[in-house]
């Protein structure tokens, strides 16, 4: 145990994802050593983010206004929605510059182990957007694992009766790499999803 204020910070840092006991200690002692203004800037940044950032009322992306910049952008095609688990996934898809529609952040994936079912996700809100925005295609860009796949299948079951085309991101090989560097799972999925030339 360290002096109470130091220990308090270590405990808080250790609760962050990906930060263990030792890293938390290192970070705390680093913060102790830097200039006070720098430490204050870090603290202010945390508080400012928490106080100003909110969720987009339409897609639940993070924003500092009523709607996020993507939903406000009139050039985006409202007929397509890309469904992601977390807001940070939007940035990844946006970087491709291939998707011109809007997004919908579910807030996770179906995982009964963690007590997360469809009601804990923003699936109801997604369904409500279909009619309201004239959506014709939904791309399920959930993670390629059991929970992400299950969630994608769930969305397809719910939306297909509404006449919406539901698609899933293809799993495949990294571009520019050698075939022999691909792991078996990726290669197996790529084989299963092969396309005729």
């Amino acid at each position: 145990m360290f002096e109470a204020p130091v220990q308090k910070l270590i405990d808080e840092l250790a609760r962050l994802p990906g930060v263990g006991r030792k890293s938390a200690q290192r970070l705390a002692f680093h913060i102790l050593q830097i200039e006070e203004v720098d430490a204050r800037r870090l603290a202010d940044a945390i508080i400012e983010m928490r106080e100003t950032v909110r969720l987009c009322s339409r897609c639940f992306n993070i924003t500092d206004e009523e709607e996020c910049s993507i939903c406000r952008d009139l050039r985006r095609d409202p007929s397509g929605i890309c469904v992601v688990e977390r807001a940070q996934d939007i940035v990844v898809v946006e970087r491709t510059q291939e998707f011109k529609g809007r997004y919908h952040v579910l807030g996770g994936a179906i995982s009964p182990i963690e007590g997360i079912g469809p009601d804990q996700l923003r699936i109801r809100q997604l369904v409500a957007r279909i009619d309201a925005e004239g959506v014709t295609e939904v791309i399920a860009a959930t993670n390629p694992n059991v929970e992400g796949d299950t969630t994608a299948l769930y969305i397809a079951r719910i939306l297909k009766p509404l006449g919406v085309k539901v698609t899933r991101l293809a799993s495949g090989l990294p571009v520019g790499g050698d075939l022999d560097y691909a792991d078996e799972i990726t290669l197996g999925r790529a084989l299963a999803g092969r396309q005729e030339l």
Binding site: I110, P112, I113, G117, D119, T150, L153, Y154, D183
Partner: protein
Amino acid sequence: MRLLWLELGYFRAYRSLHFEPGAGVNVLIGDNGTGKTSILEGIGYLASLRSFRNAPDASLVADGSDEAIVRGEFTAAERSSLVEIAIPAQGRRSVLLDGKRPKGRAEIAERVALVAFLPDDLDLVKRGPAYRRGYLDEAAVQVWPVAASEFGEYDRVVRQRNALLRREGHNADVTTLDVLDEKLSSLGSVVLARRLAVVALLEPVVAELYGELSERPGRVEWRYQAAGLGEPDRESSADSLRTLLGDALAGARAGDLDRRITTVGPHRDEVVMLIDDRDVRTRASQGEQRSIALGLRVAAYRVLLDRRGTPPVLLLDDVFSELDPGRGERLVGQLPQGQVFVTSAREEEVPLVGDRWTVSTDGVRAA
């Protein structure tokens, strides 16, 4: 396949151990409690990322230490593989293969081939179906490394479905259950196809070995009984198995909702082993059971040898004390010469020629 060196740090009773074994047979002699098995356990951990005693990771860490280290370098066909593992007393272990994080167990299984014979191997034939499923899955992963992640994904979806049933019972959301069933049948069919394929590989080898390992000949036969499906055709494609599993899951839905558990799928399957139509588990003598248990391990070794072209590293943990001398020698006769690690409390009971090492809590010394 050969282990060039092994290092243990704060692993079980060892504070620090460095061991450079010989390329052939290594006989580790020492009194009980000196850590012979810990050395084999460390070697086994490098290959399978788990304790062959089924010990939880935390129990591998020496008392008073917060982390155990296992390192070792294997070589096969002039390719070397450095495996380094840190097992903390709390939290996740970290694994490095040649200094880089491997994508999963599969990548290690692909590089390191190892078969262990354990004193508890009789459990494989005497105890519940989980032991035999574990044996088949372990063999399947060594033959087809990609199977490791298939089994992992399947296991995950079963746990999700069970969690839903346990939490919600009859109130479980029907669409969620439908979707989990779809996922369970597609992943389950892949697992089932692997099981049937590995049964097809191993069964004839065990049948052939049985004659050599036992005093009396007998006709050995396996029946793969898939929960909810009966005995599927060994040649079934994953596609047809998926349909079968899907139908079986739908049929079992009402009962599963009552019992709050998933009763259909390869996690509930059984392999019944027969000698002359008698169930080995319930209607065979201790001697017959022992011959089958040995046959299972030797078969895994043979199949791996056949697939990889190089003998796997072989661990024989206190195996000879359980065998009458005749059977011990017949066993040795069945194993082509690769690198072997044998432990024993009594030097004279090991019918193998090779490097002899004395094991004490201080380490390993050439005897």
